[in-house]
Symmetry: C2
Subunit: 416 residues, 2 copies
């Protein structure tokens, strides 16, 4: 089965939002072995949308539409598709009841245009919307399948995961079993990893080996096809072994993990607590940690000391340290890490202090960052990282560097 | 001029990344009056890329390609376009020197495949890459223009802004002057604002009026065309006045501002300093504030008190308060805001404490959040916000709510 994902909405063509729906659906379809050869984005324009449908029918047998099911008059995806397929529309009772009920529960004001959202194409399998009002649809007509999904990602994703995905799987004549695995690397460039792996990349057919750089990391996606899951997994294991031999020292995890998630795993396994003192990162390290459910046994908290005043008042950094060495210094990083650790009696203290940019700070160029680490049972240390990104790129990279070096430190502890 | 943006890269079709390049370019093109009617994404596949080029030539006269200029063998955009246009390639000396120089400066290891990046199509205007290695290109051939840009956004955006945009403007026969303005609203739903503005939206032709919901906000984009800038601006002023009359109490700012940016403006104008104590937001409020350049005169810092221990140890919350009222309480929010303000001698203290989710906390359902505010010269207060999003949706919305209510509070101060 070949799919094309058609995003409908002038807001996409005006650049107001990115087409993250196509990204999500592509990942989901890859997992169930449906090839996606094209994404298309078209505006809220009847004739251009109709043209896009005809074009897609020539090169795909599954057309997935996102957007244009909303309450306003420029939402016209289902109307155009109904016309194209020469079908009528009707009100879906379940959806209509749900809409009325929502307004009753929240006490919000229901407007007349909300009823339009409950209209569906006759003969469509209706996909319930558990996070919004407009239901989705799945239609078979001639050689093609048509799936209509809402535009807001927080409605579209659960609808696809719960109902859409299975509707597609039911139509697949499963031939191959497809297994994918993403390997994640840090502190190595894309060209260097591609050269180290050039023999493997040149020889690839099945499994495929696809490197990709982004956000200061390199990932390599491996995809194997076979007639059984076991065989596909064995193929992945074999090629991964070859890759790990050539670049394993930069590898840190699989699939959609992150350096932060890997750090949290290690902290959880060893029952370690952490506290942080953040200057240039301004709370980003702790905020990213807090975004994970169940972090409360590990992250005690910490301080944000964006100003030097806060470094002294909240974290007892000695004024002499700031005078003599400055805030962008090994000494300041170590005092911050030690003091924040002790103030919360944590096992680990981490600190970030440096010049985020765009300007230099205390004579240090933007991107000069000291990361301090303090431990209960061993000497403190600080690491100097130099980066050349934007202000927020440097802040994000600092957080990743902190996770990376702390992970290294904890793993070295293991070896001893 | 009509443009089509063609993203090239199998990583897009596998869902490894979102096509944020198309979003950025669409916004830039809208500003200079170039209509974008389609986005296309195609993989690293010679024949499908060639098909996409032929298709785009039928419906656009400016084809902008992103991606596929990199060092690896699956990067083939310029090779396919050269073939399609029947042109040869040559090494661009400036680009080649820059690549060699980069490796000399950073001491990194240069691989053989880096030379491929300096190859350009003969006759193309070369667009220098100031943040990476592969140069871009701009080509006129027959009735069409072709622009080739690199895939990594941090290379593509500055290249387009510095060189690509002007190359397009030079080709425009300017007829109309186009002015756009985005109005931003908070705490009102899309359907409600659409109903309030239904007369205006129904009657729109020029200026156009396009509402869009996302991330808990509604924006309305106004676009006017006229033969002079002054006339277009007057048309925007006129329609904005009508909209403000109907929904102005929810309006908070223009274009790409944010609630945080608006708050910072007010703090800066009044020379006020702020400190924060964050439980469920875990540093997100301060991190978002720190992402803005020049915030150091306003944000002194604060604490992250994700654990109750940290609330007591770092922010002097009375253990009795936690015992009697719990962490998710008005009393705790007010103590946090007052104590963090006083510990740094700031003008304003703000605090966030509540249940981020997915689980309830102390019997309060996920999404129950208290926001505390403390001021030097008036009584403290706390506001209860109820939300129904995911854990991180609730954390982000809490930060927005904090900005929104603090802005309201500071503006009310004005009136007195």
């Amino acid at each position: 089965m070949k799919a094309e994902i058609i995003g409908v909405g002038t807001e996409l063509l005006l650049g107001q939002i990115a087409n993250t729906n196509a990204q999500y659906l592509s990942g989901e379809l890859a997992e169930i072995g449906v090839n996606v050869y094209f994404h298309t984005v078209v505006g809220d324009n009847p004739s251009r949308l109709a043209d896009a449908i005809k074009q897609a029918e020539k090169r795909a047998d599954l057309l997935i539409f996102t957007g244009g099911l909303g309450p306003t008059k420029d939402d016209l995806t289902k109307e155009i598709i109904a016309g194209h397929l020469q079908r009528e529309m009707e009100t879906d009772n379940d959806a209509w009841e749900k809409i009325q009920d929502y307004f009753k529960r929240t006490g919000r004001y229901m407007t007349a245009n909300n009823e339009k959202q409950a209209r569906v194409i006759i003969g469509a399998k209706v996909l319930p919307n558990e996070h919004g009002m407009a239901p989705g649809m799945f239609i078979k007509e001639g050689p093609c399948f048509y799936m209509l999904l809402p535009g807001p990602p927080h409605e579209m994703k659960p609808m696809f995961r719960t109902y859409g995905r299975q509707a597609i799987i039911d139509q697949l004549e499963t031939v191959d079993c497809i297994e994918s695995r993403v390997l994640r690397f840090f502190n190595i460039g894309e060209a260097e990893i591609a050269e180290r792996l050039s023999d493997i990349i040149d020889a690839q057919t099945n499994p495929t080996v696809a490197p990709l750089a982004g956000d200061g990391e390199v990932t390599i996606r491996l995809t194997a096809r076979s007639d059984s899951k076991d065989k596909a997994v064995a193929m992945l294991n074999d090629i991964e072994k070859q890759i790990q031999e050539k670049a394993g020292e930069h590898f840190y995890g699989y699939n959609d993990t992150s350096l932060m998630a890997e750090l949290l795993k290690v902290l959880e396994n060893r029952e370690l607590t952490i506290a942080a003192a953040e200057s240039l990162t301004g709370g980003l390290f702790q905020s990213e940690m807090t975004s994970v459910v169940g972090v409360s046994t590990m992250l005690l908290g910490g301080i944000v000391c964006y100003s030097n005043e806060a470094k002294v008042k909240l974290c007892d950094v000695k004024p002499e340290t700031l005078e003599k060495y400055g805030a962008v210094s090994e000494q300041c990083a170590i005092e911050l890490a030690e003091n924040v650790r002790m103030s919360l009696n944590a096992d680990i203290g981490i600190s970030f202090t440096g010049a985020a940019g765009p300007d230099s700070l205390e004579g240090h160029p933007a991107g000069t960052v000291w990361i301090g680490m303090s431990f209960k049972d061993r000497e403190s240390k600080a690491i100097l990282a130099k980066m050349a990104g934007t202000r927020n790129g440097n802040r994000r990279r600092s957080v990743k560097m902190g996770c990376y070096y702390l992970l290294k430190e904890l793993k070295e502890l293991d070896k001893k």
